[in-house]
């Protein structure tokens, strides 16, 4: 037997209205719980963006001999530019190397004085590979190049960054999962309690001849709507708080990379809405089924 749409709609809305306290309780729980999940997801995305940036900053330097010929230099230059794994190349000539040397050792004059002319310093290529993982293989190509004196990697830095990134990402996945589980538990809990308060009603419906689905569907719709409203509130909270948090983060150099785009926020919001409605509807269905055996 098909269940009539207008019956379900009427039933759902009058129940939402009549059980205002329970509706409020369920919506609140969904909102708080999903806000938690959403935050975990967003932080995770921000971290992954920030680490990509940091990783992108990982580079290698190909130092030429101070007396390398222009020919040798331009050969290397061409080879580097032709590699698809390379994202960016900068050529640092004698003068630039000296300027940088001076800048780095501004506070340590004793080093500065040890180098008198730019020619003492070797020119070099700064190479940024597409991925941090490619640093090794790119460098290997040039170790024995003509006029190349040495290839220098930021090995330790890379390793640390990769480690930290892997840890933080795993950690935040776990946080998001735990948050999701906690949220589901709390939401189911609330729905269970709300339907528990109406168990006699369910029993009476059965005694009057209602089929299980006839009773279940309005409850599921109710749960779905509660879940949806709760999720919408959570999304609203996230969108509302973003400018504030972002504003705080701007002040800190290290954390400037640490932000999420609007589309990420919207994507996460969509996930929350889907989660909210699914948990709401499925939770109600499960909870009401416990009392259907009359």
């Amino acid at each position: 037997m098909a269940i009539k749409v207008d019956y379900v709609a009427r039933e759902t809305f009058s129940n939402l209205k009549r059980n205002a306290l329970m509706t409020a309780a369920a919506v609140l729980t969904v909102a708080v719980s999903l806000a938690l999940v959403g935050s975990a997801l967003l932080v995770r995305q921000a971290v992954s963006r920030a680490t990509t940036q940091w990783k992108g900053g990982v580079e290698l330097s190909i130092f030429m001999n101070p007396d390398a010929t222009a020919d040798e230099i331009s050969t290397i230059d061409r080879q580097v530019h032709d590699m698809p794994e390379v994202k960016k190349v900068t050529y640092v000539d004698h003068t630039a190397a000296y300027d940088e040397f001076v800048r780095i050792f501004r506070d340590s004059p004793e080093f500065k004085e040890s180098i008198q002319t730019p020619d003492q310093l070797p020119p070099s290529f700064r190479v940024v590979p597409q991925k941090a993982e490619l640093v090794d293989s790119v460098g290997q190509r040039f170790v024995n190049g003509a006029g190349v004196r040495q290839v220098v990697y930021a090995r330790d830095t890379i390793k640390t960054i990769l480690k930290v990134t892997r840890f933080v990402t795993t950690f935040l996945w776990i946080v998001a999962l735990v948050a999701l589980m906690a949220a589901s538990l709390l939401i189911l809990n609330t729905i269970q309690l709300a339907i528990f308060a109406r168990r006699r009603e369910v029993g009476v419906m059965k005694l009057v001849g209602a089929t299980n689905w006839f009773i279940r569907v309005p409850f599921m719709m109710e749960g779905l709507i509660q879940g949806l409203i709760g999720a919408a509130a959570a999304v609203g909270l996230m969108i509302g708080l973003r400018p504030f948090v972002q504003g705080q983060l701007k002040h800190i150099q290290l954390l400037q990379q640490f932000f999420v785009t609007s589309s990420q926020v919207l994507g996460t919001g969509l996930i929350l809405l889907v989660l909210g409605s699914v948990i709401g509807a499925a939770g109600s269905a499960v909870a009401v089924t416990r009392f259907l055996d009359v």
């Binding site: 009058s14 001849g209 009359v294």
Partner: protein, 229 residues
């Protein structure tokens, strides 16, 4: 229409609510179920709707062996049976109109049927003016009449009424009994548990008396009882 064979039912902690009960009720009969408080009348009625399961024995309702009815068919059994519950069992969140309409919605009746039939039956039980009240906003007798209206409204094959006049004054009771009688004349089997001596004595229908869960009397055109007072 209704047949019980050697039915027994014991709740945990009770000596026995029903013991080896065998009863046969034909289609269209009007039967009073009498007996002292706690003698098993409500249990008897609850077995017929599968609200409770018997420990022993077999039960046929409307030609079906309900002991072997798969659970998804139970709602369809119940739609053939109108039930006036002793404790009314109204839906607390629905008003009078919606409570009665619910019995029609459950069987998928279209809206125009609901809109025409429900006010009619509410009129019949004298509650036309209370159609928008919630059950908590009704007097005891009014709640009882809503329960009666809900049981009647979908013209069931069988009507089970558990003390449908317990909270009603004599003249309202009489109105309800006339209604029951009218329904019975259209072919509905009526089984009514009651304590109301004057009604039973006046109607002179078949009387089944229980005592401590046992059948102690089954009398065509019977009276309430032999007890004096």
């Amino acid at each position: 229409m209704i047949r019980l064979e050697h039915v027994s039912k014991t709740y945990k902690g009770t000596t026995a609510a029903l013991r080896d009960l065998s009863v046969d009720i034909a289609k269209g009969e009007f039967v009073f179920l009498v007996g002292p408080s706690g003698s098993g009348k409500s249990t008897f009625l609850r077995l017929l709707t599968k609200e409770e399961r018997p420990d022993d024995g077999r039960i046929w309702v409307a030609g079906k062996d309900i002991a072997h009815l798969s659970s998804w068919k139970v709602p369809f059994l119940r739609r053939n049976i109108g039930c006036v519950f002793q404790d009314f069992k109204l839906l607390p969140n629905k008003n009078v109109f919606e409570n009665v309409a619910f019995a029609l919605e459950v069987i998928g009746r279209p809206k125009h049927v609901i809109v025409s039939q429900v006010p009619q039956i509410l009129d019949l039980v004298g509650l036309a003016k209370k159609r928008d009240n919630l059950p908590t906003e009704l007097s005891g007798g009014e709640q009882q009449r809503v329960s009666i209206a809900r049981a009647f409204v979908n013209r069931p094959l069988i009507l089970l009424a558990d003390e449908p006049t317990g909270n009603l004054d004599p003249s309202t009771s009489e109105g309800i009994m006339r209604l029951l009688d009218r329904i019975n004349r259209t072919g509905t089997t009526v089984l009514m548990a009651t304590h109301d001596r004057s009604i039973v004595d006046r109607m002179r229908r078949r009387v089944i008396e229980l005592d401590h869960g046992q059948l102690v009397r089954d009398q065509a055109r019977g009276v309430y009882g032999v007890a004096t007072n």
